[in-house]
């Protein structure tokens, strides 16, 4: 945090400072140019661009199959939603949505829930870590690593998986995967009561989060808010239920909601969704059908897709993730535009919430909005 400018008037002192891009309290490589009077922020402007690698442009110059190593980098801790949406958009435009084998669809859903589980574990740790409390984040990152072990076993990669491809998934579940996944889920569940105790029963956490960072309900439609931010104000909105995809309609789960719309409520939603993902993974593994895991694909080096455009969406842990995909009949996309929830939550919403926020609450606020800079700048 660097003080770069100090101005004075007759009564007050207004200080401008840069929060990030290198700061342990910032959510990734971005920065907030903030102005404050005393401890209170009066204005903030989000600055991104530190991670811009021109992903959307790169995809316009590559064959369809070559885009998977690109899209998984759009959100480092949650790459699978991007892989799924890239595949779903182009499968729809190619007219092959109905060709995806049932098992492939179930495995895709399994992967998305594993991804949601590990991401929520990390974010919940971030909630309390952003206040300088270190034990629970370490526990949560440790148990998250068990899920990464399963990812490594399944896909070959811990972070970037490139596992969901057109037509289904790249390979089948390894033998005994279900049993090892169950062991992992059990280990996580054993740790969660301790985490609850340190986070939700902590008076420090409660005093720092209850009534802090409240998002008014009228902003939801005005700004197209989504995800835990919306569910923390009592609105049961979840793409998995509202715009059903994959096998979610066949799974038994309820949308988690609470009231308060503050940082505490958003953390509580994430905690409940950890348990929800554990339950969903168990359901999926128990009911996993047999059969092929991927459709027969055309030659990926000569595959062309008829002209068309579509928008596909999925529920990421942060909210609505969408891919606007345009094809022109060639072997490359004409345009792919990634709509990450952080594009709204990390810029327009964050800047609107900053005035009046205490400087010490900025980091917890950003974690609670789950701002992911790479999906803003792609």
């Amino acid at each position: 945090m660097t003080t770069t400018e100090t101005t004075t008037d007759t009564l007050r002192r207004r200080v401008q400072l840069w929060f990030g891009p290198q700061h342990p309290g910032i959510t990734g490589n971005m920065s907030v140019q903030a102005w404050l009077e005393g401890d209170t922020l009066t204005q903030g402007i989000t600055h991104v661009g530190y991670l811009h690698r021109g992903f959307e442009k790169l995809m316009e110059r590559r064959k369809f199959i070559q885009s998977f190593p690109i899209v998984c980098r759009i959100c480092v801790p949650e790459p699978d939603t991007n892989e799924y949406l890239l595949a779903a958009g182009l499968e729809e435009l190619a007219g092959m949505t109905g060709d995806i084998p049932e098992r492939g669809t179930w495995i895709r859903t399994l992967v998305l829930e594993m991804s949601r589980l590990q991401m929520n574990l990390m974010t919940l740790g971030g909630h309390i870590g952003s206040m300088g409390l270190g034990a629970a984040p370490n526990w949560l990152i440790a148990v998250r690593d068990y899920v990464l072990d399963r990812f490594e076993e399944l896909t070959g990669g811990r972070i970037y998986h490139m596992y969901i491809i057109y037509g289904g998934v790249r390979r089948d579940l390894p033998e005994g995967f279900g049993e090892r996944m169950e062991e992992t889920l059990t280990k996580i569940e054993e740790k969660l009561p301790l985490v609850d105790n340190v986070i939700f029963d902590s008076s420090v956490f409660r005093r720092r989060t209850v009534g802090v960072g409240v998002v008014p309900e009228e902003w939801v439609d005005e700004m197209s808010l989504s995800g835990p931010i919306v569910r923390a104000m009592g609105l049961p909105r979840d793409i998995r239920k509202d715009f059903p995809y994959l096998i979610y309609p066949e799974l038994d789960f309820e949308v988690v909601t609470t009231t308060g719309s503050d940082i505490y409520a958003r953390a509580w939603i994430r905690r409940q969704e950890i348990q929800q993902s554990i339950d969903l993974i168990r359901q999926i593994l128990a009911r996993m059908p047999e059969g092929p895991y991927c459709a027969k694909l055309p030659n990926m080096l000569t595959w062309t897709i008829p002209p068309g455009q579509t928008y596909v969406r999925a529920e990421a842990t942060r909210g609505e993730m969408g891919y606007y995909t345009v094809t022109d009949g060639s072997d490359k996309v004409r345009r792919i535009h990634v709509r990450g929830p952080s594009f709204v939550h990390g810029v327009a919403l964050l800047e609107r919430m900053i005035p009046g926020t205490n400087i010490a609450d900025l980091s917890p606020l950003m974690v609670s909005l789950q701002v992911c800079p790479p999906e803003i700048e792609r």
Binding site: V48, G49, H52, G54, E56, K57, E60, R61, E92, V220, D221, E222, M223, S224, R237, D242, F243, P298, N299, M300, L301, T302, G308, Q309, T310, Y311, E320, G322, Y324, V326, R334, R335, H337, R339, F343, V344, V347, A348, L349, R352, E377
Partner: protein, 181 residues
Amino acid sequence: MKTIVDDIRTRFIVEWEHQQREDLRQIGVRPGTVVPLLGWLKLHSPFVQLTHMSAVDWIEEGELQLTYLLTDPVGMRSLMVCTRIDREEATMESVHALWPQAVTYEQEINEMFGICFPGSPRQGVPFILEGWDDMPPMRRDFDTVEHVHAHHPSRPGREHTDPRAYIGRVFGERGFLHDDD
């Protein structure tokens, strides 16, 4: 969904429409129709959310497409409103008065495609590209390789392998996978 498009037709000229999915309809309108139409939809229809805004470069036709995705959060459906503007005089009316987050979309589209939205608060303010002095990079005629060579020269002595030449040499003209394999 058909009802809302019929309703739109009674008030605005719809150039084309397409049902992409059960929950996604697409319509094309003239540029001057976009803002009145979106304003009407926000006030008088369930499509109250601006979920997404994007641009596409149709360089062969000398046009840029603007796409607005509106969502009905209760009826669980979306309406994609598309329009095309001249590529050389790329100007479009802003929708930031209808949806505040449109400022960010318009700022980014201005930077990446060179489309101006007069009156939109952050036009010309760098969003991602700081100190950019080339053409808007998401335009199709932006040459990434030329830009890289001009701005990021290779370290002296570093060997470079052209990927296209390498793949052609190793796997042949059509690559190593064939339909009959």
